[in-house]
């Protein structure tokens, strides 16, 4: 995969990664996690990142989401240069523009389903029509009857749908999902993927998803393959959304 010059960046690109390097240090030992990745994800598309364990997928996701600092390179999300933004800007970025979905135990156990979503609204400062949005989202994820329940009273699949609703409640422009189906059975995994597909098709945010599961990845518009901290290729555009993903780009070695 070659680097792409800034002038070659396609219009409407939501995420633009150039020469991204991330190294973890443990004393004198340096462990490279990302070795100069370039990639672009177009606005309003669903991209999946696949690869074996330890290849740097989650690191990529966290750097894009402003949770981890890159060692070198550039990550631009919308108009924000994430790699160089100060902590306060990154916090504001996560607060207002990014929704995260994690693999497991990603809800506040002490709060009800509804309060989990309200908390996200409050943190994001999006109190306007908060209850209305929560009602609509819970209906959309099929949990309108469980809004007063606590996460531990829900199945794993239901918990993950609540997490997706929470990621969406602040109306972000980007959803970053780290193995969202990793703890789910195949039925629930398909249900979550269908939900993601529906979100993107419905004009929702850009989704960047990490997954091991080829079946889940196949739902995405594009699949970015990673190995040993590098992006090594891309699979084709999802047929159902080809027209909705004109800006998806890849660079092959």
């Amino acid at each position: 995969m070659t680097s792409q010059g800034a002038s070659d960046v396609p219009r409407g690109s939501d995420i633009r990664v150039r020469g991204l390097v991330k190294e973890y240090r443990s004393g004198r030992i340096i462990v490279p996690a990302l070795r100069g990745i370039d990639l672009d994800v177009a606005s309003g598309t669903f991209a999946a990142v696949m690869g074996p364990s330890g290849c740097g997928k989650s690191t990529l996701l966290y750097v894009v989401g402003g949770m981890l600092r890159a060692t070198a390179g550039s990550v631009r999300v919308h108009d924000l240069e994430v790699t160089h933004a100060p902590e306060r800007e990154l916090t504001a970025f996560r607060r207002g523009r990014v929704g995260f979905v994690f693999q497991r135990l990603n809800l506040m156990a002490a709060l009800t389903v509804e309060d989990n979503l309200k908390l996200a609204c409050r943190i994001a400062g999006r109190r306007d029509r908060c209850n209305e949005r929560i009602r609509a989202l819970l209906e959309r994820v099929g949990l309108e009857g469980k809004r007063r329940m606590r996460p531990l009273d829900l199945s794993q699949g239901e918990q993950q749908r609540v997490a997706i609703a929470r990621a969406l409640v602040k109306e972000p422009s980007l959803v970053l999902a780290d193995e969202p189906t990793g703890n789910l059975d195949s039925t629930n995994a398909r249900s979550v993927m269908a939900l993601f597909r529906q979100i993107v098709t419905g004009g929702g945010p850009t989704i960047l998803m990490i997954t091991h599961d080829a079946e889940c990845a196949a739902v995405a518009d594009t699949i970015i393959h990673m190995r040993d901290g590098a992006a090594v290729g891309r699979s084709g555009v999802h047929p159902r959304s080809a027209s909705a993903a004109p800006g998806v780009e890849e660079r092959r070695a």
Binding site: M67, R94, F100, A109
Partner: protein, 364 residues
């Protein structure tokens, strides 16, 4: 607020232990201070209720009147009576005794002269002292020890008949004839102190000065403000109360700090989630401190309830004890509790806010 409250309610056992620990600290402070101050206040009030304006004691004597017995010549009464500004003088022999496992002050009085100071004893049952072998107890001791008129009791190795019960709150709890107590103590014609009533409140200071000038080696104590004077003169009292306050603060602080620290370790992953949602460090710190404030706020309320229960129990089991808890100490006790919550939460809150969000998310 919702998250902090939900956390408090979710971890019921942790919250209950934390609330109880703060509550016990606050109650300990209030009860100990209340007992200390109450005892001093009560003693001072009883002395003041005798009705005089001054007490005359040997120079350097303690305000705790029973700690020295007959050290002044009884005939000083006549000399005092002649000093301008003095309206009435009553010599008193003060001593202490143990009675039914209690420690009591005994006054040896001349009933007539004692009455001339401020009305004397108000007998509520029986009659006044008339001669040897008779004793009067105050109503609080009578109620606590279930004593009644006509009963015979042993005091200072002699047997006495209770001839009267006086209204509580004047001087001592046990009264007998001054001459008899002097004989028993081998202090004939000697007394512990003199109560002096002045001709007018305006004359008190001048009279005190005149007495001290006229009678070498005596000290006049103005009775107004005696409680404060006694508290000040008690060596180490302030330090004792300070130590109790400090201990309460430190113990509550440690308990709150430990509880919040454990909570934060337990909620590491949730902190990671909050960071991923865009919560600032300040917000996370605020959330931890708020949770701590909720716990300590409940702890302070629990402390007040425990104090009320302890005071009720003390009054029931030890009716002669006086517990005085002023508004100042109630507020201070609450303040110490809240301060412990605030200080105790600071490190855990800082620790929570400093968590690396990615590491927090992968915390098992």
């Amino acid at each position: 607020m919702t998250l902090a409250l939900a956390n408090v309610l979710q971890k019921k056992v942790r919250s209950a232990i934390c609330i109880l620990a703060v509550g016990i600290g606050v109650a300990l402070l209030l009860v100990v201070v209340g007992l200390t101050r109450g005892s001093i206040q009560e003693v001072a009030q009883r002395i003041q209720n005798v009705g005089g304006d001054l007490i005359v004691q040997p120079a350097g004597a303690t305000q705790f009147l029973a700690l020295k017995s007959g050290v002044l010549p009884e005939q000083y009464a006549e000399r005092l009576r002649k000093i301008p500004g003095v309206a009435a003088v009553s010599p008193v022999v003060a001593w202490t005794t143990t009675f039914r496992n209690g420690f009591y002050v005994v006054y040896g009085i001349d009933p007539e002269r004692f009455s001339s100071i401020g009305g004397g004893l108000r007998i509520v049952d029986g009659r006044a002292l008339r001669g040897p072998g008779e004793v009067i107890v105050d109503s609080r001791l009578a109620a606590a020890a279930r004593l009644s008129v006509g009963e015979r009791i042993e005091i200072l190795g002699s047997r006495f008949e209770i001839v009267g019960v006086s209204k509580e709150g004047v001087g001592a709890r046990i009264f007998l004839s001054m001459a008899e107590l002097q004989t028993m103590l081998h202090q004939e014609k000697r007394v512990s102190l003199f109560f002096v009533r002045c001709t007018s409140p305006a004359a008190v200071k001048a009279t005190a000065a005149a007495i001290e000038s006229d009678l070498a080696g005596v000290r006049c104590q103005i009775l107004e403000g005696l409680a404060d004077e006694m508290a000040r003169s008690m060596s180490g009292l302030r330090e004792f109360i300070g130590a109790i306050t400090g201990t309460t603060l430190v113990v509550s602080l440690l308990v709150v700090s430990l509880a919040m620290y454990m909570t934060i370790l337990e909620k590491t992953r949730e902190i990671g989630i909050l960071r991923s949602l865009g919560a600032s460090r300040r917000l996370i710190m605020g959330s931890v401190v708020l949770e701590s404030m909720l716990l300590t706020g409940c702890g302070v309320v629990a402390g007040y309830a425990l104090t009320a229960a302890a005071v009720t129990a003390l009054r029931a089991w030890y009716p002669l004890l006086t517990v005085e808890i002023t508004r100042f100490w109630i507020l201070l006790g609450g303040g110490v509790g809240i301060a412990s919550g605030l200080l105790g939460a600071l490190y855990p809150a800082w620790f929570a806010a400093r968590q690396d969000p990615v590491r927090a998310l992968s915390y098992e």
